[in-house]
Structure formats: structure tokens, C-alpha cells
């Protein structure tokens, strides 16, 4: 396990699909860096380029520009680095005519690494599939396939785990188990997790840092805390509102919010806001800090993008 340095580096990564009417830019100049031991969230609306980026990261599709570096080595010149990566893509595609256990045995042999066979039973137990291990995968529900996909991703004890929509098809209990598993991979086992999900509440709970991709480009990259702080504000009920607004404008961004105003100030700045209002002769009736959740931040960012 790398103790320092980037585990994943995408440098100006691009993918353009040739078409009759010119190229379609699925991904444009994406550059991100994921450090060892991080849980990194990769977010974006449908069609934003998440899956294409993940497929390039896994060597499934070739970039038309830029570079993927894993564990400090260029993937193109050293594809063997992928042997340190475990992945769940497309909800866990498996051989439908084989049992869950047999699918994992096939993967263990394909990988050829030491100890993978011995990990099959504990992993089936861990993902809650021990009871269905001998059943053919074609009889599995979406959630069961997803669980088997996670087991497959962890089979050869990878240093980097890439999970594309890992909670799809899981029930509430399954989602909670998955959340704990992901945090455990990072906190207890020191693995790096690269996670894509459209369930932003889950991302907010498990990720250290996120990148938001829209129309093939990274539009924001920050820690969860930074991202939420960026959209922090104060909701102020005051009278007269027009006077309140003009007293604060110039120092903070102010916008009407129903019968109140919303000021883009942090909670620490609240006393200064109140002093200004009182000094301007405004009556203050109420002040409440407003913190948006990740979903609201995500929507505001992706909707800021005029093309999105």
C-alpha cells in the first residue's frame, strides 16, 4: 500500500467519439488526483461522463487525450498496475450460468494471485451472500448481484477499489451496510476508494473529497466540508428588507428569500452582519444559519453550468 503520493492521477484526460457530424466530447481535459487512503466521490448528472472516465481509469476504453496514472505509473505503459485495482462497474456483470461462488473462483484463477481462493468464503459472508453462494447468478436480484460485485472487487485484496454506483438495487439496510463497508475499507484497511454514486446523501456520509463532473468537464473539486461551506449562508428576517439589503450589499452577496433575505456569510460573521443592520437602523427579528446539503450544492453547481 502506498503511504503517500497519488494513487489515482488523471491528467487532462479526454475521450472523443468520432461521429458523422464531428466528434462527441464525452470527457474533456479531466484532471484529478486521489491520495492514498481517501474515499473519493465522483459525481455528475446522467451523461456527464462519469462512466466514461471510470472506464478509462480501468483501461476498458482508451483515452483520446491525456493520461491515467495509477500508483505513480502510466496505465498505458504499465497495465499490470490494474492488478492492484478492484472494481464494480455496471452493477456487477457475471457469468449467469455459474453460481456466485463459481464466478468468484473464475476471477480468483484469472487473477492468479496468492490467497484469492481463500478469501472467497469470508467475502461471501461479509457481503451477505453465503446462503446463496451455490445459486446461479441468473437467479440473483439486482441487489445480490451488486453484493457479489463488491465481493469480486475485493477478491484479490486490491489497494484501490473503484465502485460505480455500488448501492444501486440495495435496500435501506443494504445501503447502510455498504456505507460501513466502504468506510471500513478506508479507515481499517487503508485502501483507497473511488466512488461514483447518484445518491448524494450517501456520498456526503462516506466521502472525504468529491469531484463534480458536468458535460464531460470537472466543474468543482473539494472536500465535502469545503463544498458545503462554500454555500453556507444566513437567513435574516428584518424590516425594512430593502434597507437591510442595501446595508449588507458590497460586503456579502444578498438575495431575497421569501419574506427574508439570504446573506452569503458564514456563521462566524453573524455578529458583524447584525451590527451592520442595527447600525443602519434596521429591525432584526430573526437570524438562522443556513447550510445546504450536498444534493442542493450539487444541483446549484450543475445548474450553474449553462450547458448542463
Amino acid at each position: 500500500m502506498e503511504s503517500e503520493g497519488a494513487v489515482v492521477e488523471l491528467v487532462d484526460l479526454s475521450k472523443t467519439y468520432r461521429g458523422r457530424r464531428g466528434g462527441v466530447h464525452a470527457v474533456r481535459n479531466v484532471s484529478i488526483s486521489v491520495g492514498a487512503g481517501e474515499v473519493y466521490g465522483f459525481l455528475g448528472p446522467n451523461g456527464a461522463g462519469k462512466s466514461t472516465t471510470i472506464r478509462m481509469l480501468l483501461g476498458l476504453i482508451a483515452p483520446t487525450g491525456g493520461e491515467v496514472r495509477l500508483f505513480g505509473e502510466a496505465l498505458r505503459s504499465n497495465p499490470r498496475t490494474l492488478r492492484r485495482v478492484g472494481s464494480l462497474v455496471d452493477g456487477g456483470a457475471f457469468y449467469p450460468f455459474l453460481s456466485g461462488r463459481r464466478n468468484l473462483q473464475v476471477l480468483a484463477r484469472t487473477h492468479g494471485g496468492e490467497g484469492a481462493d481463500a478469501r472467497i468464503d469470508p467475502l461471501l459472508e461479509q457481503v451477505g451472500l453465503a446462503h446463496a453462494a451455490e445459486r446461479r447468478v441468473k437467479g440473483y436480484s439486482t441487489g445480490m448481484r451488486q453484493r457479489l460485485g463488491v465481493a469480486a472487487a475485493l477478491l484479490h485484496d486490491p489497494d484501490l477499489v473503484i465502485l460505480d454506483e455500488p448501492v444501486n438495487g440495495l435496500d435501506a439496510a443494504g445501503i447502510q451496510e455498504m456505507r460501513m463497508l466502504i468506510r471500513n475499507l478506508c479507515d481499517e484497511q487503508g485502501k483507497t476508494v473511488f466512488l461514483s454514486s447518484h445518491l448524494l446523501h450517501e456520498v456526503q456520509q462516506v466521502c472525504d473529497r468529491v469531484a463534480i463532473i458536468s458535460r464531460g468537464e470537472i466543474v468543482r473539486e473539494a472536500t465535502i466540508a469545503e463544498l458545503l461551506r462554500q454555500d453556507e449562508g444566513l437567513r435574516i428576517e428584518a424590516s425594512p428588507l430593502a434597507m437591510a439589503q442595501s446595508a449588507l450589499e458590497g460586503r456579502w452577496a444578498v438575495e431575497p428569500d421569501g419574506g427574508a433575505i439570504r446573506v452569503a456569510a458564514t456563521q462566524e460573521e453573524a455578529p458583524e452582519v447584525v451590527r451592520r443592520l442595527v447600525g443602519a437602523g434596521v429591525d432584526v427579528f430573526g437570524l438562522a444559519p443556513e447550510r445546504r446539503n450536498l444534493e442542493e450544492v450539487f444541483l446549484s453547481i450543475t445548474q450553474e453550468d449553462p450547458d448542463a
Binding site: L60, R80, F94, Y95, L98, G112
Partner: protein
């Protein structure tokens, strides 16, 4: 590499279509054999003309080796190869395994697995054929010709097996390429059948067609694999070149080394194209 081949065997050991296309050799043989015995015991056939010659007896036991290099056998091999190579697209499972091995190694493992299972099945059928022919002669009271030795049986079977190598490899090579390019089992089978039929038809009718374009057909005949397959078979079985008479341009009768090199180029080229195509392919 052994791990990858073993993974392939494990994977396809539970796949019904694969087993049908492999077990069809021994099962088909047993069925035909049972029918022949039943007919013989019912007395529906005229009296046997007598004990077959040693060579004929041994040749009969090697009949299964005639299946893989001929039309039906090659269609079966094409279907088997298509399932093994294109199946991964249908099940969406390439993305499951390409992380673990270099892509050329995965393709090489598939070639090894196809050959292992196919030749395993035909070899098993050939063994069955020897044992059952011997046992049935005992049961029905037919005399077994003298001079049948394990060495003589091995020689005949080895020679017949050698004849199958080039056509089997060629069929596997163009079907695998079709499977990788089309990403579809059905398309790969259809393309393989069309190519196989066209190749055999051209080889059979080229001398007739040559009256319309003598030089072109003469040239194509010596470049395309059909003649070389016939020629290698002829060299192995009869020890001489296969002669094809063209009315305007003369006789084609090439040495075994020329045909061996031509087939190596065709098979190697198609397999390299398969590897190259898969190495550069986007797996969505």
C-alpha cells in the same frame, strides 16, 4: 498463463452450449454406434463379406477424425469458438476479467481452452471408438483381423489427427476474429459459416471458374487457404502433393513446406489480428 486457462475451463465447464458442442462428438458416436449394432443384430443387413483388412479395421476406428476438418465439423467448431469468444460480450463480462490479465493473455487462454476441449473430446471419442469396435466384434462374434497393434492404431490416429490441425486452427482463427469484431455470437457463427462455405466452394470450383479469368483464379487458388488445406492433408496421408488441374494454366502441385508456411501465415495472421483488435478495443 496456466491460471488463465484453468479459469477458462472452470468458466465453461458449466455452460450448456459449450458442452453440447463438445460432448456431441462422443455422444454422437455412441448413438451412431448403437444404431449400427442394433441394425447388425436385427439381421436387417446382408451377411458381412468377411473379416475386414487390418488397415480397414484401424481406419474405421479413426472415423471421428474425419469430422473436425470437414464442413459440419468446422461449423461445430465455429459455433464453439463463437460462444467462447463472443460470449463475454453477451454476458458483459469482459470488464470483469480484463483488469486481471493482459488482454493478449486472455485471448491466448481462450485459444488454448478451445483446442484443449475440442481435441480432448475428439481424442476421447477416438479411444471410445477403438474400445467399442473391439468389444462389439467380440460380442457379435466377428473376427478381429490379425496384426492390430497399439503402434498401428496410434500411427493411423496420429496421421488423421495431424490432418485436422490446419483446418481446425483456421476455423478457430477466423471465427475468433469475427467474434471480437462483431461482439456477437450469432454474427460470428454466420460469418464463419459464410467464410467456410465460400472457401470450400471456391476450392472445389476454382478449376471450372478459371476459364473465365485464368490468371486471377490461378493466383487466388494458390493464395487462399483452401488448396493448402487439401495439399497438407494429401502430403500427410498419401505422401504426395494434391494436384489441381486448371484447363488453361496447368497443374497446381505444391510442396508441403509451401503449404505449411501459407497456412501458418493465414492462421498466425488471423490470430494476431484478433489479438490486435482486442488489445485496442473499447469495452463499454
Amino acid at each position: 498463463m496456466l491460471d488463465a486457462v484453468s479459469a477458462e475451463l472452470l468458466k465453461f465447464s458449466r455452460h450448456r452450449a459449450t458442452w453440447f458442442l463438445i460432448w456431441i462428438y462422443p455422444v454422437g458416436f455412441i448413438l451412431l454406434f448403437a444404431i449400427a449394432i442394433a441394425v447388425a443384430l436385427s439381421g436387417a443387413l446382408p451377411e458381412s463379406p468377411g473379416t475386414p483388412s487390418t488397415a480397414k479395421w484401424i481406419e474405421n476406428t479413426a472415423a471421428v477424425w474425419y469430422v473436425p476438418p470437414h464442413t459440419l465439423g468446422r461449423y461445430l467448431i465455429a459455433a464453439f469458438t463463437a460462444v467462447v469468444f463472443a460470449g463475454e460480450y453477451g454476458w458483459n463480462t469482459w470488464k470483469l476479467v480484463v483488469l486481471h490479465r493482459r488482454r493478449p493473455a486472455l485471448i491466448a487462454a481462450k485459444y488454448a481452452m478451445v483446442l484443449l476441449l475440442l481435441y480432448g473430446a475428439v481424442l476421447f471419442t477416438a479411444l471410445l471408438s477403438v474400445v467399442l469396435t473391439w468389444a462389439s466384434d467380440h460380442l457379435t462374434g466377428d473376427a478381429i483381423p490379425p496384426g492390430i497393434t497399439p503402434a498401428a492404431i496410434l500411427h493411423e490416429h496420429g496421421m488423421r489427427a495431424a490432418v485436422t490441425i490446419a483446418p481446425v486452427l483456421l476455423t478457430i482463427a477466423y471465427t475468433s476474429l469475427a467474434a471480437i469484431l462483431t461482439r456477437s455470437m450469432i454474427a460470428a457463427v454466420v460469418i464463419a459459416i459464410v467464410i467456410g462455405t465460400a472457401e470450400q466452394t471456391f476450392t472445389a470450383f476454382a478449376p471450372l471458374l478459371s476459364v473465365y479469368a485464368p490468371r486471377l483464379i490461378w493466383g487466388l487458388y494458390q493464395v487462399l487457404p483452401g488448396y493448402h488445406l487439401e495439399n497438407l492433408g494429401s502430403w500427410i496421408v498419401e505422401g504426395k502433393a494434391f494436384e489441381a488441374r486448371f484447363p488453361r494454366t496447368g497443374v497446381v502441385a505444391l510442396g508441403w513446406a509451401t503449404s505449411a508456411m501459407a497456412m501458418a501465415a493465414w492462421i498466425g495472421g488471423l490470430m494476431l489480428l484478433t489479438l490486435g483488435s482486442f488489445r485496442r478495443q473499447d469495452i463499454n
